[in-house]
Subunit: 236 residues, 2 copies
DNA sequence: ACAAAAGTGTTCAGAGTACACCCATGT
DNA sequence: ACATGGGTGTACTCTGAACACTTTTGT
């Protein structure tokens, strides 16, 4: 028990719990919304598919713990991350009384996938419609995370977390198609996204996908931050 | 430790925590968004203002615990309630390593305030702009809860949780004014809310506020549930 | 010259916004 | 008759939705 001014006097008699975080990590590749899953290494349930998680230590917050996990995995420490929900059904974990706080995060797949390969985790990107059964309540976490992601994506500039620093409109459109799982009219998309003021057109073209080449954009950080606070309608 | 198939083998060596829930309870009265606060009864920090909370037991979920608290307080068990966030900063509680899951809920003030009076809790409704300092991170919980409430209220039919079973349009409008903290044009409000299909006009009038009397409405449960899933734009 | 992706504009319908007067009734 | 709150309609603007052809350029 940590140093404290006036400890709870019946501290020892109360129920205590282990505390864990689990991360739902999303990315988009090949026009699909994908999720990073792991082969669990510890008993119980070793060898089954799960989210990446960790117990938390006495001196870290849940957010610290989630960042720590993502850093170990990707080598990146500026990943978009939000708390999702605390899962605490009694007996949710056959390993003991463990309460878990789920986080969800977004990463740019192509930018990082090399690092996953050299990593010693047994990780796999799966499309969200081809997800295998996950252990414990991790399936429920994913369902909730997808719902939350779609809700955020509708009103906050979130698609940008899934796209490289410089990107084409087609790439961005395709991220939104993957998140919302429906086709988007490209003319209306361009019109609306350009009107938002979020994008700055660069004087460069990406020639990898067509002979004509398509303009690269980056996003305008000021507008981006404003819209994170105020919200904007990103329904297409 | 509960019965389990294969317990974590280093269970005893890991950090363990007490686990609590705290409830942010909102209501609307006299055109103000209000919050229920309590004089804390236990040490440490007894006598200061706080949210209503409780430790959770081994065999209840956080949701059960939050419902339990609200039931004790109000005598009602069908209160609108959502999980807000898990607060776990190290040393957030001087009483020991306690992690808290915050919930927020909405209740109809006039319907229940009698029960608060006979209750032995030292409770008080305060307008959100006249809130005193709260203990620990409870102020932060409230700030986040207000933000979440406003977000929900914009897109989901939530105002109805704050209004009696039969209500006038003026009452409903005034709930939305309180939540969003700005005046709403009553003609546009009527037009939009009636178009949503959420309301059924009753063949009764409330004559307590004017000589002419104003029609009472109730909400249409089917439409209500649909809009809870799909969402609707409740910005006025 | 042709294939393949990029880029561009218009029309229509529906929703939001601003705004001012008459209605019903108890006293 | 009048005071009080309840109830109603219109014009304008803006946004969203549907929809098809031209441009560029490497081969």
């Amino acid at each position: 028990m940590a140093a404290s001014l006036t400890p709870y006097k019946d501290y020892d008699s109360k129920s205590k719990f282990l505390f864990a975080v689990d991360c739902t990590v999303f990315g988009v590749s090949e026009n699909r919304l994908r999720l990073l899953i792991f082969e669990r290494e510890v008993e119980p349930l070793a060898g089954e598919w799960s989210l990446l998680g960790s117990f938390i230590n006495r001196n870290e917050s849940t957010r610290d713990a989630a960042s720590r996990i993502l850093l170990e995995l990707t080598g990146l420490d500026n990943i978009y991350m939000e708390q999702l929900h605390c899962f605490a059904e009694p007996n949710r974990d056959p390993g003991g009384p463990v309460i878990s706080v789920a986080y969800w995060s977004l990463i740019k797949i192509n930018q990082n996938d090399r690092e996953f390969n050299v990593d010693n985790h047994k990780a796999r990107w799966v499309s969200i419609d081809e997800m295998p059964e996950l252990i414990l309540d991790h399936g429920e976490m994913v369902t909730m995370a997808i719902r939350r992601l779609r809700e955020r994506a509708k009103f906050y500039p979130i698609g940008f977390e899934l796209v490289p620093k410089e990107f084409t409109l087609r790439q961005l459109l395709s991220v939104y198609e993957a998140i919302f799982d429906h086709k988007i009219d490209d003319r209306n998309f361009r019109k609306k996204i350009l009107k938002s003021g979020l994008l700055t057109m660069l004087d460069k073209k990406d020639k990898t996908t067509s002979r004509k080449g398509s303009y690269l954009y980056e996003f305008n950080k000021d507008t981006y931050r404003q819209l994170q606070d105020k919200g904007y309608n990103f329904e297409f």
